[in-house]
Symmetry: C2
Subunit: 128 residues, 2 copies
DNA sequence: ATAATGGTTCCAGTAGGTGGAAGGTCAAGG
DNA sequence: CCTTGACCTTCCACCTACTGGAACCATTAT
């Protein structure tokens, strides 16, 4: 498979796949013309990374998860630990965003949103 | 005031204040020794930006909001529009994160988390 | 032969700062 | 007067995870 096929099948942009090669996730062979050639295993790895990324795992998490995935003797506890850590980070981000959301939607509700200059949103931002 | 005083009073790191000067938010005068000198108005502006940033507004949003703040003839509708746009982005992020969270916490619940290698988390990531 | 498509490398830029080096300045204490 | 330590300066690099674009080579279809 060429990179375009892998891109289509994995759902990742070709640029991202090249980037993932740069940072060492995959090492596709090269054809005589210099083109990358991917086998099913590499496609699989890329899809794995793509799915992990979409669940909010960082690139470093992906390295760990891939290593665990390829380690037949892994303990599921190790995977669970990484996943729980990620969950905690997701929860922290949600909490942050919800706090912002609460403040902001309160301010929006208070703002008349008309032609006049008086604005509780600006008042709040400016308050010392 | 020197930059350290402003940092303490605004809650922003001195590095960030220098950065905000670089990108044109403030233009503090300089003393004979080259030190930046800040007046109350600049402190105020920095605090305004800090608060806006903590509510999730981008730097570009901050530029808009500051301009509105300094425009006596603004319409509160303009401020409200920026705020609503930001709220929509926050909501989109929360929704994304909650979708991740749901999938991930489901997988975590299914994983035994022991010494055995079987792991529904990896199975899910690997599934084509 | 040519055009469209797809591949390659490399460099730069994104957002919003943060870290660190190398060096100038100022106030207080011995 | 000198030193120490806290502050200040600039500049350059680095962070995450890509993304865009230029310049160029290869393949395929017409």
């Amino acid at each position: 498979m060429n990179i375009g096929d892998v891109a289509r099948r994995s759902g990742l942009p070709a640029k991202t796949i090249r980037y993932y090669e740069d940072i060492g996730f995959i090492k596709p062979r090269r054809g005589a013309n210099g083109y990358r050639y991917f086998d099913e295993k590499e496609l699989h790895k890329l899809a794995f990374i793509g799915r992990a990324r979409s669940l909010g795992f960082t690139i470093e998490d992906c390295r760990t998860l891939l290593a665990l995935y390829e380690d037949e003797d892994r303990a599921s506890a190790d995977v669970k630990r990484v996943a729980k850590q990620n969950l905690a980070e997701i929860d922290a981000k949600i909490a942050d965003l919800q706090a912002m959301r609460a403040t902001l939607s309160h301010l929006i509700a208070e703002c008349a949103g008309d032609h006049r200059p008086d604005c509780p949103i600006l008042d709040d931002l400016a308050k010392c």
